[in-house]
Symmetry: C2
Subunit: 229 residues, 2 copies
């Protein structure tokens, strides 16, 4: 079984890398900043998106690609916010890949956008391996999942530029040491930005939004420098 | 990419089915009841195991197989309870398969056990597809994950005999409608047993333990009937 599986998985990953590079060029030409948002089921990806849309309203033009195994529940939540949302249904698949993004992007006018957030399938394992062409992988860990998660799902922590620790409003009621999450994450990835937020109370959202706006501006600055050169 | 992937995945699943059938015969011959325990990361699989070990102490002989991507953190937690625990590290793999279980079982004396619980990799998607030879798939959903999970991860709900709704002690602090989880689950799987528990407070554990003991007795009864026949 292993002898069959390994080379095929490698072919799939290589094919994915090529399509991801093509997506990345497309995003850079359009001057749009792109995030691949990942977490366990129920850690708060859609809630962070909703709060982010509210926080950026009138400042940045945003669109969302929603990845789900089935249903359009999350895309409907996003559309009620007045933001364009494209739904990808993986029909059983456990992660998004670059090909799915290439197809989904066809229905967006990228040149009229500043930021695109791709909400991946809820899964702390498989999505980490598939580059979508994003600028940054952003992962969410909710404190209710426990402080041992960096030890148990290290790849996601290693590859993400940002860790958003969510549901901090629940800390008084559970056993979870946020300092320990930070230490364990640092051992895997010394460069990760870490935000502590509550999508319910809104605490910590200001720092996250400030970081996001800087990132969008960075892509715009790069594009205008290229235009001048 | 799809043309390469589909037939290979089918071969892997067929090979897995054969090994799962072999495991199932081995478990039945030994008269041991086996659970495949699945959930998202941090929903409380290891906590339910710890509470179950405490609740069955002196009544049933139990062993645990711990599936993790890496680390032996959970197996160490279980061993401090005085129960035999075998660690499987999948080294990046997102689910356990029947072959891994066949190998892990070699280091257990099944004839001296009443119940074996296999804790799968924390993932609400991929593990559902791989039969390990268990009697029952038991899934945990923590209320902090939200009441939309049956809509978004239906296969796990369809295939599990039991749904354990965990962390009910946190219900006063979050937005989660347990009745809605029950209704959405019933639409996918009318035969699922549902327990509401808190591994922190211990509430609801009595009904879960009672159900588990009946299941173990059922396997023993079947074995003795076969012996008489």
């Amino acid at each position: 079984m292993g002898q069959i599986e390994v080379p095929v998985v490698r072919n799939i990953l290589q094919a994915n890398e090529r399509l991801a590079a093509s997506n990345r060029r497309r995003f850079q030409e359009a001057g749009i900043y792109v995030i691949n948002l990942m977490s366990s089921p129920g850690a708060g990806k859609t809630s962070l998106l909703e709060k982010t849309i509210d926080g950026l309203a009138g400042q940045l033009r945003m669109a969302v690609i929603e990845g789900d195994i089935q249903s359009s529940h999350d895309a409907e939540r996003i559309r009620t916010k007045g933001v364009q949302a494209v739904q990808i249904n993986t029909e059983g698949g456990c992660h998004l890949d670059a090909n799915m993004i290439q197809i989904a992007v066809e229905s967006l006018e990228l040149e009229n956008l500043d930021v695109l957030i791709i909400e991946n399938v809820g899964n702390l394992v498989c999505p980490a391996e598939f580059d979508l062409g994003e600028h940054d992988k952003v992962m969410i860990l909710s404190v209710t999942e426990g402080d041992d998660k960096p030890l148990k799902y290290p790849l996601m922590f290693q590859l993400s530029s940002v860790l958003v620790i969510n549901k901090v409003d629940l800390l008084p009621y559970i056993h979870c040491d946020v300092q320990l999450i930070r230490e364990r994450t640092r051992q895997l990835n010394g460069n990760q930005e870490i935000f502590e937020v509550s999508c319910t109370s809104g605490s910590g959202m200001d720092l996250w939004l400030e970081w996001l706006k800087k990132k969008v501006q960075g892509v715009k600055d790069q594009l205008s420098r290229q235009g001048e050169a």
